[in-house]
Subunit: 295 residues, 6 copies
């Protein structure tokens, strides 16, 4: 259950409102690197958490922090929209030289909300929960969370660079610091559970002898020149202690796939149905509906 | 530029076709944990790669491998659909006791494709490129890639457990092995670039003195009982060598946000416009349009 | 800023776990009638609230309650999934007679989350913030909120009817009661702002003399038989006190639209460009690229 | 079944074409406040209407009107695009001072349609039928329809304010008038069915003694300062005549949720499986995989 | 402007309601092969039509027909849902042997609409206007329309095969006939505009000497075995009369792409910035941050 | 299985980088007319191909070519972003007169990728696989493919017109040429399978005597003035040789639909349930809950 105190976690202030920057800030609200995403991700991970309870508590606790980050950013968007042009006439009047503001705005900031934030990204695309990870595997989730905070911090850093408003930079310096911490935090869970060696391969509960081990530590080359891009991934021990990296030219181990011909009543064309079996042999046999390749 | 040989990377065979399993396999094609995603992710990361070229090569090379994984899975879906019921009558006739097959199918496997795969997940939701990460930050991307392979391997392991078809298990044992390798591979890049200590915080190119350092290694407690879930994340050195973890009760550092009243011509209700300023003071002042809280 | 205590707002208990009911419950989490929607809607309305501050407080307060409803439902989904089949073999073994469970499940409950909730609806479609209303007009928002709670209560009532599990019915009886209150609550705001008469037409800040008043209280008939479906909407005073309802046969007041021909360099076919002007006159003139209608 | 006469319901004319305004108008076509939405909503409500037939007729009749509104707006978009720049060179040549037009356009107006409307909103996001309400409950639907027309009229009013083109303002004055009527119309249905008192709580067919009545008229406070935002919603009779509003501090009535540990074969990490039961007791017990909170 | 008469274009009757078939029918309403799509496509093509007016009229006329097809199918869905189970108990009681109906249903048919149609496909995915073609090029649009009617007829044929209900088969026999006509109709426009030879390549208004003619009639081989799949596309005259088909092995004409290194302030990792130029030469030079390929 | 050589199929070079053009190019990557779409479409068609094998080979071969087109365009986007402004200050400094660049950019090109391409369209909407056709009917698929290449070539031609950069025009001249060929190629398959006459109606495997033949070659008029837009589609032989086109006024052959009243426990309003049967007769009978139409 949740509570609020109506105050902001950190001060949000805007000295020179800028409606284009309001649009940019939306990426931190509803973008794939944004705060709605992490809020949802940490809370759903927590609510579905199975195993030691402390992780549930920690996840929900941090998920709760993130709700307040959305609140800060929504406030920042609204403040950057104070004074934005509401009409094409006003736009030209205000800013006849440096270019139209209105054309660069998220027009829904005028048309749909009356100068307030939306749950969308910087291009006005609504938040979509398809990109929320809560896998039921705690290590996979922790890596997903580092991803979220790494891309989130990259985003915050870019927003910081985009503006020179002191209020906005102050707010972003706080969000950047929190992203620093959260990257650390998820890595700390991996350490606590035994570290990378014990964690890998994720999930580590699957008996590794059932996988096709021959290919478990091979970097496959798919280049036509048979060169394999080399690096730490082609040499040295694997991080789970179970193998050694090696380069391997990938070659087809399977055959050309053959599907049954379509059934007569399945909505295919008649020519497909009676076109002969789709075998590799048939393909080069003109009497079977095939025709020779051009060498 | 890309080439094919028309063969499968690894054999795909199905002994007992099962249309429900065909639906499940779709998650590995078009789901958030699936192969279309990694193909797109690695290729877009490679195509936009800035900095040392070897990473570009490695990414595109592995992205190329993933196209073949989609091919294997699409073949597996089609083979599991051989013999699927095309009609409600056929469905009942075939399987009067153990329950209807058709009700559990992705109906588009009958209606839209004539018994073949779709670029969708296990619930029939089309693949959506919103969840493709190519951040321009190589370490953030590597973590995103470990996420993809960790959730991908969890998915493959669950599919393996869902079936007892020897052909399907053989195919999945290969995909599981490749996911093992790919988890390793992305971690190897991080090692090669200097390891976690050097990589953190991501992006490491932002001058850390510009962030609000006081909060950079603090685990914030947002519980009303002032308890802070404890763990490695509340004690010990940070992984970038720059700080020490500590627990901290989160308290509001900002005030209640105040937005300007709506402009008269902005589509708000008149009562909002003339309702008095939205200050915290006004809120409890009935003469300002506010009304007292109930204590 | 937000806080939690890790407890549920109301007890959630499941006596007979049912994975199909878990799928149904997802509609109350991620569906258009669900709790993610209202949480987002009330919070974004509050965060963007302009005008008297008390409404902001009230909205954020109730938005905070809704986060806890998602938590209850996510818990209910996880509890209904306890014991769900993880494999096709297990499914048939458990339930050889009454029909396959697994086919009716949200397969992502197995494949993506390891038996926990997702931010999706009952068909497995991810939550999508396109259907969040925060219009900047307080009355429009209140009506949107009644909509949310009316459809939400209809959903909860249908879920109540779908199950006979005493624990689930108890939880739903609470959510239904809250929906009852929330419908009332949003109507109370409309009363407080002066009631429907004063509120209409929404937005009431637009000078009504600028609208085409002749059509402001007319119910238009679009039936070919010139019958107009009659009711309170065709007779009696309007609810804003400004007019009287009347039936009116809708007739075209505008002409056939005419667009300029495509520019030669705009990607159209040459025949379009040189096909003659798209005037109504030209349309029946074969020499202008037209051809006569068949009477 | 449907018919057309090829004419516009109301004249559409544009004196000074403006491609940015064309983008803005798209919100009224494909936005959440737009005409595709209401057309779909009223028609699907009508087609699925159960109970007295007159409502079906009225809904389909008005849904039919809305198709013509899309037609008017699509025409307005095309007319606003006449003369739009097709190239970056043309753009700069035409408008070297006041700023680039092309950057502010929906680029699909050039690239995808050759200067015509799309079924998208003002940000170029395609219409998505997830936000169409047809609930099978007539009162819920009527409230949804008032929402649609209230947000629709707010949008039309904002578009009216954005332009000073006399033709566009004339067209919008008509659409605004129709939105006025349609708000009234849906309220008239509620009156006809007995008015709000009888309608509430929606659905009114559920036996209210089965809901947790203690909470049916309580406004819950979720603020940490135990203040409850006061208003009509905390005092006075409820609108259904069944209760009295009261403020109530929300306190957790449920316990901390406990899920079973993950099954060994469910794709979790081994450490989760063997991490001990996830009981609240265990959480503070280091021997059970938990660790003490930091007080 | 549009009109209705409240009647169905063709009788819709269901003898044995089947809720699974109701789900299947949704594909014909909201699927990519469905009627919402063609209605939108023909109307938007008509509304944006530039050039000879008769095509506008014809398109809007047929678009108007399609609205009535949605109406028929929505009615068919509702009738197939009469008597559907509303609860899990009812489901088991009705159908203890042949398998659960409810698990195979679109649960929104119960939960969201009270037994009526939704604007969704057979998997419950909402209609999405991203797949509406109105290109501004009449021939491209006609081909898109043949696609719509070809896939639409395939769908209708598959639905026909899926049921043995005489009423449903009768309705589908009508829709199949209309799809037959509509395929013809769009081809007739191409003939009228001069036929395929004149129409190709689409758009035919672009001066073909500006394209890289050497590659305009070559079928490219991308197989590693240098075999080129042969057929009419590798030999004989082209359909526009401008060339001759030939097979051609595709070879890279471009070089390896080189992007500038990331800017120091762009959110990349420091190692990318200082990693040396991303030239092909550098890639194999360890002193430049590269490392040799494994041959 | 797939291979790469890391080189571009055709040279990509940009003389004057233009970030607005980078946004436009995205339509050719992730738009409905773009290359991700055709790659997916041809590969899924090939992977699910049933019937003569040569078509499978041809499809996969061309699908492989398309991957390289995405690569070219992603490179072109990145090159057009070299030198783009990263901040609002930089933007104004660089370009104080001709208008702000940054407002017209896809902001994710700065915020999410660090100056590289995304899998999105020109409005920043992510690619969505709902618009991929792989129908299992080879002729329907070929028509879908001509659509893709016709709209793709229209797009490429429009991009060509939008820029005067010699490098970009050179690249586009190649892509335009390939679209020319691909339009031809899919038509060649139709010829090879017997040509249009034999192919129609698609699917040609359904016994045409089961369709409602009376309506199979009739162009329906839905205009209230009973005029039928005339053309080749109202006269002359059909293209399958089975009928003759004729104009026909569409008249309702079905009755007004009647659905059963809602069940008492289905979440409807009580007034709907007891409102009397929804028969056409009842609708005008006030004693049955109906009310008379206004004539």
């Amino acid at each position: 259950m949740f509570y609020t105190d109506g105050k902001l976690q950190y001060p949000v202030r805007v000295e020179k409102p800028n409606p284009i920057f309001a649009r940019a800030l939306q990426q931190a609200i509803g973008g794939v690197e944004g705060e709605i995403r992490v809020m949802m991700q940490y809370l759903f991970q927590g609510w579905g958490s199975r195993g030691p309870k402390k992780y549930r508590d920690m996840l929900i606790n941090t998920g709760t922090e993130e709700i307040g980050h959305i609140e800060m950013l929504a406030t920042a968007v609204a403040l950057n929209l104070e004074g934005a042009p509401l009409s094409l006439q006003e736009d030209v009047a205000n800013d006849g030289v440096a270019g139209a503001i209105l054309g660069g705005m998220n027009l829904r900031h005028i048309l749909s909300t009356g100068l307030a934030a939306t749950p969308e990204n910087a291009n006005g695309v609504p938040f979509n929960a398809s990109h929320v990870y809560a896998s039921g595997n705690i290590t996979a989730d922790m890596v997903a969370n580092v991803t979220a905070e790494a891309t989130g911090r990259a985003l915050a850093v870019r927003l910081y660079g985009m503006t020179d408003d002191p209020g906005m930079r102050d707010m972003l310096s706080f969000l950047i610091a929190r992203d620093t911490m959260h990257q650390q935090q998820w890595l700390a869970v991996i350490e606590e559970l035994g570290g990378w060696e014990k964690a890998l391969p994720i999930p580590n509960s699957f008996p590794q002898e059932q996988e096709a081990n021959r290919f478990s530590y091979a970097y496959f080359g798919h280049r036509t020149d048979k060169q394999v891009p080399a690096g730490r991934w082609t040499t040295g021990p694997s991080y789970d202690g179970n193998g050694k990296f090696e380069p391997m030219i990938s070659e087809p181990l399977g055959q050309e796939p053959v599907l049954a011909p379509p059934r007569p009543d399945s909505g295919a064309q008649t020519e497909q149905v009676k076109g002969g079996p789709a075998t590799p042999q048939a393909a080069n046999d003109p009497t079977m509906g095939g025709s020779p390749n051009v060498a």
